[in-house]
């Protein structure tokens, strides 16, 4: 086949990591256009774990664990650039605050959560206690909240804090197994997680605290992202992206890339930034 690494066409896409590459699947409505799937970036020597998207500058951000770093590249065709490459242990989840122009990440060796400007400057650790295996992290800038999951087998939990690490609280700690994957749907204000231990997909309203099960019997989720009625999770069992219709409560589609190896983080690359004002803009 001919060159594969080009600018992405306009529209909304799924971006996901598969070891040495970041792939994309275009979305038509909420459906995957599997024929349009291809690699966005080849990073052959790297093991890419987390991916996140900045809708303002149309950049994909990712964490990488072989020479631990956080990098970014324009999905309109740009060179990968490392923004953080020192003092990282095992960076896993990464989240973008597109309003505050910040990135957050979890580090599963240093057992902390850190923040920096999108260019890597002004770096700071904001949570550094009580973490064993932090992985997924999600930012909700319009409400000024951060969410993360720790899959510590002895005491898995999902936590929240303000975006500076203050007002930290445990949201979920009962009936969790390996909550690898986390996503926040701003339309429904629901925080949802996919659990590779309980094999359940569940959601809760972080303010009200009510919890509901979307689906059980899912296989081995690693990452998840949501858009409208659908959630899309990466599955370590099938090496595939699996679509879940949250209202029908069933898996409605799967996409299996040609290369058969583990899929890691997944995110939605929106055509346009979601509406919303920065919570901190009032300060």
């Amino acid at each position: 086949p001919r060159p594969d690494v080009d600018a992405l066409p306009p529209g909304t896409h799924l971006l996901f990591a598969q070891s040495g590459r970041i792939e994309h699947v275009p979305l038509e409505g909420y459906d995957m256009n599997k024929d349009g799937a291809k690699a966005v970036l080849y990073l052959p020597a790297k093991v890419v774990i987390g991916v996140a998207y900045d809708c303002v500058e149309k950049m994909v951000y990712w964490t990488e664990i072989t020479s631990p770093s956080i990098s970014r590249a324009s999905i309109q065709g740009g060179e990968p650039t490392a923004v953080i490459s020192s003092n990282l242990g095992s960076p896993e989840g990464v989240a973008i605050d597109h309003l505050g122009r910040l990135m957050f990440w979890t580090d599963s060796l240093k057992d902390h959560i850190a923040v920096a400007s999108l260019d890597g400057s002004q770096r700071r650790v904001i949570v550094d206690s009580g973490l064993i295996n932090p992985r997924a992290i999600i930012a909700d800038p319009p409400n000024g909240n951060l969410y993360w999951a720790d899959w510590n087998r002895d005491a898995p939990k999902i936590e929240t804090s303000h975006m500076d690490g203050s007002n930290r609280r445990v949201l979920v700690k009962d009936d969790l197994g390996l909550p690898n994957a986390l996503t926040y749907d701003s339309q429904s204000s629901l925080l949802c997680w996919a659990d590779a231990g309980t094999h359940k997909l569940e959601c809760m309203h972080p303010g009200r605290g009510d919890r509901s099960q979307i689906l059980e019997g899912i296989q081995y989720p690693f990452g998840i992202t949501s858009l409208g009625k659908n959630m899309y999770y990466t599955d370590w069992k099938r090496n595939a992206v699996v679509v879940v219709d949250r209202y029908a409560g069933r898996e409605s589609n799967t996409f299996q890339p040609q290369k058969q190896t583990k899929l890691y983080g997944i995110t939605t690359a929106y055509a346009q930034c979601p509406a919303g004002q920065n919570y901190c803009a009032g300060n």
Partner: protein, 184 residues
């Protein structure tokens, strides 16, 4: 580049049999896109995450990619469990460490290779009062902490018979009881 009109326009992929390749437009670099199962890298020379080896024999004999060998002391839900080439274990659990997660961490003792996690590495928990220099480490195998003079027990938490005053922090003192008036 098939547009040059020469017989050398299309060249075979420099990849193991069956793998396809692509040219990165910006750099003109050729990368293999469909490496054989378990391998990755520009030329399929690396092992996937969770595996180690040297599939093309770039640094010595060919070693096929094998799952990380870490004495059952890694978690399959973790990423980056071992170095992709050397196999050095990077994320030992159950208080183990070492190249193969085959030893107890400093401050722990026992048998890192025991089959039951509870039997693996236990904390030394050396007594602060009875241990030389308030050390927190102990013998990796027996768990014996380094006791101050006349202090006994694995964790240096008691005086030897006939001695007292562990609290001194300098070892225990002889009781010096009068043998005539004492019961034993």
């Amino acid at each position: 580049d098939a547009t040059q009109g020469t017989s050398a326009d299309c060249q075979p992929c420099p990849c193991p049999a069956g793998a396809t390749c692509a040219v990165v437009p910006k750099t003109r670099e050729v990368v293999c896109t469909n490496c054989p199962a378990g391998t990755t890298g520009k030329r399929c020379e690396l092992c996937d995450d969770g595996f180690f080896g040297d599939p093309l024999g770039q640094n010595g004999p060919v070693r096929a990619c094998r799952a990380c060998k870490c004495s059952d002391n890694i978690d399959p839900n973790a990423v980056g469990n071992c170095n992709r080439e050397t196999g050095e274990c990077l994320k030992c659990i159950y208080n183990t460490n070492g190249f193969f997660c085959d030893r107890c961490q400093e401050g722990f003792y026992g048998n890192a290779l025991a089959s039951n996690p509870a039997d693996k590495c236990k904390p030394c928990s050396c007594s602060g009062q009875g241990t030389v220099g308030h050390q927190t480490t102990c013998s990796q195998v027996t768990g014996q902490c380094q006791c101050l003079p006349n202090v006994a027990e694995r964790d240096c938490s008691a005086c030897q018979p006939g001695f007292f005053n562990l609290q001194s922090g300098a070892g225990c003192e002889r009781c010096n009881c009068n043998p005539i008036g004492s019961t034993n």
